[in-house]
């Protein structure tokens, strides 16, 4: 029963990561795109957790959900907010 739940959870999370990545690339407002990218990273962190990689979860959550969006937000603040015309 637990295995079925884990596998279904893994499927759900990987499909959600695809949706978040698509929205992150399509979104023209960079701030919203960064938030979608952080959601996609959180989904990947869950994938790593289910794939039995606790070390990578520990390094991936601060890096990809915390620091990378902060860096990209700084860059967006200093340059242009909208992508394209």
């Amino acid at each position: 029963m637990i295995e079925v739940f884990t596998l279904a959870f893994l499927m759900l999370v990987s499909v959600a990561s695809v949706v978040a990545a698509y929205l992150a690339i399509r979104e023209r407002d960079m701030v919203k795109a960064i938030v979608f990218s952080a959601i996609q990273s959180a989904m990947y962190a869950l994938i790593f957790y289910v794939l039995m990689a606790p070390d990578i979860v520990l390094v991936y959550i601060p890096v990809s959900v915390g620091i990378t969006p902060a860096v990209l937000l700084f860059v967006t603040k200093k340059t242009e907010r909208y992508d394209g015309d």
Binding site: S14, A21, V75, T79
Partner: protein
């Protein structure tokens, strides 16, 4: 088709789709910041692939993380550990790759800011003129 095989297909296919989405972002979106964001998605997907290759589903029992958790050592516990833990090597490589990837991302971010200071835009189509 059993559920574990189906899950494996769904995960692998979604990772491939993410790879395609990230490549589209790198090639087709005009903003350099969006390209940088797509590069981070691409590297994360490559790392997820590496971890997925090191995963295992043992015939009996469930997979274990690559941490030896028994405080007593004998041949039985060691054999259980070796036959149930997932591959630690891709995890070790991905671990350093993520931190170095962050350093390289920050470096590219500095270069993009400098580019904006000199050219006044981060749109590659406008910068060409």
């Amino acid at each position: 088709m059993n559920l574990s095989l189906m899950t494996a297909y769904v995960v692998v296919i979604s990772l491939y789709v993410n790879l395609g989405i990230a490549l589209y972002g790198i090639f087709a979106r005009p903003s350099l910041v969006k390209k940088l964001l797509a590069i981070t998605i691409l590297s994360d997907t490559a790392n997820a692939f590496a971890v997925l290759v090191g995963y295992r589903w043992p015939k009996t029992g469930t997979p274990k993380p690559p941490v030896y958790t028994n405080s007593t050592f004998n041949n039985q516990t060691l054999h259980y550990y070796v036959t149930h833990a997932v591959d630690p090597l891709p995890q070790a490589l991905v671990l350093t790759a993520i931190v170095i990837g962050l350093a390289v991302t920050i470096f590219i971010a500095f270069i993009i800011i400098q580019y904006y200071r000199l050219h006044g835009t981060v749109d590659v189509r406008k910068a060409r003129r």
